[in-house]
């Protein structure tokens, strides 16, 4: 084994083909996670009976255990559950027909949901209650007030956390290799072991991730500037 700097570029080009998989996993889990997060956050803010303890339990469990265990639990647990139910009710659907990446989507969405709920909750609570009352006083309905007044402000407040969550999920997607999904990390492993150049391949993968993270951060700061226009202070 000798260091081969030129191989970094070769590996880089080969690993590029796996970027879409990583991005799919990230985007899907963030989007579904966001939906779950909003639901859980609203349940917790309005303290809906019965659902409230469930939501708290869900968030505590997910935040207290590693993402890897969620993935493994879903990967091994879900087929047993689905096949058991299928047997009982005579469905033709079996867990075999779920693609590997499906497990990654499901498990990472569940993970993202718990973290997102905290992000959404802190964002919503950051908006002054007076804003809602003011909206009501000028005759808006609650959905209108939420949509026009509260949500835009909550979004602005939670944007930094949101971007951190996205980056977290991007980095978390590397775990997908444990269920044989070929994402950037798995591709790096393949490139590394077929050429016996581990360091170079992982360096290339690290550079790609670094670049992606940088892009997300840049994009966030642009959006943040745009979204915080109302808040620029002074007399404006």
């Amino acid at each position: 084994m000798k260091l081969d700097p030129s191989f970094i570029w070769t590996a880089f080009v080969q690993i590029l083909s796996a970027i879409p998989t990583t991005l799919y996993i990230t985007v899907v889990s963030v989007l579904i996670g966001f939906v779950i997060g909003v639901a859980v956050a609203l349940i917790r803010i309005y303290r809906i009976p019965l659902l409230y303890p469930l939501a708290v339990g869900y968030v505590t469990f997910i935040r207290g255990t590693p993402m890897l265990t969620h993935l493994l639990l879903i990967y091994f647990g879900l087929p047993v559950l689905i096949d058991g139910l299928a047997e009982q009710f005579g469905w033709s659907f079996r867990s075999v027909s779920i693609p590997m990446i499906g497990f990654a989507y499901i498990s990472f969405s569940i993970t993202a949901g718990a973290y997102m709920s905290e992000v959404v909750r802190s964002g919503l609570l950051a908006v002054d209650r007076g804003q809602l009352e003011a909206a009501h006083s000028i005759g808006m309905t609650t959905p209108q007030a939420l949509q026009r007044i509260v949500f835009p402000q909550a979004l602005a407040a939670s944007l930094p956390n949101l971007s951190n969550s996205v980056i977290g999920m991007l980095h978390g997607s590397t775990l997908a290799f444990t269920v044989s999904v070929v994402d950037i990390n798995a591709k790096a492993q393949i490139v590394a072991s077929t050429n016996w150049k581990f360091f170079e391949a992982y360096l290339a993968a690290a550079l790609i991730f670094w670049g992606l993270t940088f892009l997300i951060e840049r994009a966030t700061s642009v959006i943040e500037k745009r979204i915080n226009l109302y808040n620029r202070g002074g007399v404006a």
Binding site: L3, R63, M67, T69, L73, V80, E118, L175, F199
Partner: protein, 261 residues
């Protein structure tokens, strides 16, 4: 798979997994210490704006926060021996655990340095001036006035970091370290009772992270006892209404608050 689900396995696996708890905690403990030291070393050039070192530490932080820990783990495991071979240091006999602790130490160090920097900056500058006015030296002012307050501010973030680190250790199995996750996978494939093993594993992680959180909450109450704020509101993730406090947290960067793996 194939084996039917049997809850009693969960309980029989618990003690087996607890046997490897030591390795997990060893990784957490060692890399935490390394992380704090690295964090301080990296935070100081940025706090005092030392010309070249400042850029170096910024790149260091950016790299370790910008790449997944799994990639870093592989990078160090495979890369370090090759680089050290160039200077004729043989690392073939180094135990894997050293690489793991090194990686986690450097990874946490990046987050720690951000935490330390933001916490120190969050302490009111007037406090330092007041300390100088009463005749303290710079060192005295830092250790007696700034540090205790910064510690109190930083501890919720610190707690998040420790829990994130604990959860990150579940990745050490990829290098063949027999910590809890590695042990769970071995147990699972030996007995084909995967679900039960992973439930047991999740339970252990849950209990440990809960304990860490509680312990650090007690520490936080002690450190912030000079402030009359009711710290109990921090329990169960209550959100702080106080705007300045939220800004500090935002500035700290929620650490790995986004999603610790």
């Amino acid at each position: 798979m194939g084996a039917p689900f049997d809850i009693s396995y969960v309980f029989s696996y618990l003690p087996k997994l607890l046997g490897t708890l030591g390795t997990t905690l060893l990784i957490v403990g060692c890399s935490l210490q390394a992380g704090i030291i690295v964090g301080f070393l990296v935070a100081l050039p940025r706090l005092y704006k030392v010309p070249v070192l400042k850029t170096c530490s910024e790149i260091y932080i950016s790299f370790f926060r910008g790449t997944p820990i799994l990639i870093q783990l592989f990078l160090f495991y495979y890369g370090l021996p090759e680089i050290l071979k160039l200077v004729h240091v043989d690392m073939t006999r180094t135990p894997v655990l050293v690489f793991v602790i090194l990686t986690y130490g450097l990874h946490t160090g990046a987050y720690m340095s951000e935490m330390i920097r933001a916490a120190v900056l969050a302490v009111d500058k007037g406090q330092i001036e007041a300390a100088y006015a009463t005749g303290m030296t710079g060192f005295q002012a830092f250790t007696r006035i700034v540090l205790p307050q910064a510690l109190g501010i930083a501890i919720p973030v610190f707690s998040n970091l420790v829990i994130a680190l604990l959860k990150d250790t579940s990745l050490a199995f990829t290098l063949g370290v027999m910590e809890m996750t590695g042990k769970a996978q071995t147990l699972g494939s030996l007995t084909q009772h995967f679900i039960e093993t992973y439930i047991a594993l999740a339970l252990i992680y849950l209990v440990i992270s809960f304990t860490i959180e509680k312990l650090l909450l007690i520490a936080e109450r002690r450190l912030l006892r000079h402030e009359k704020r009711s710290t109990s509101e921090k329990k169960s993730f209550k959100i702080h209404k106080n705007w300045s406090y939220r800004r500090i947290i935002a500035e700290l960067g929620p650490g790995k608050g986004g999603a610790g793996l």
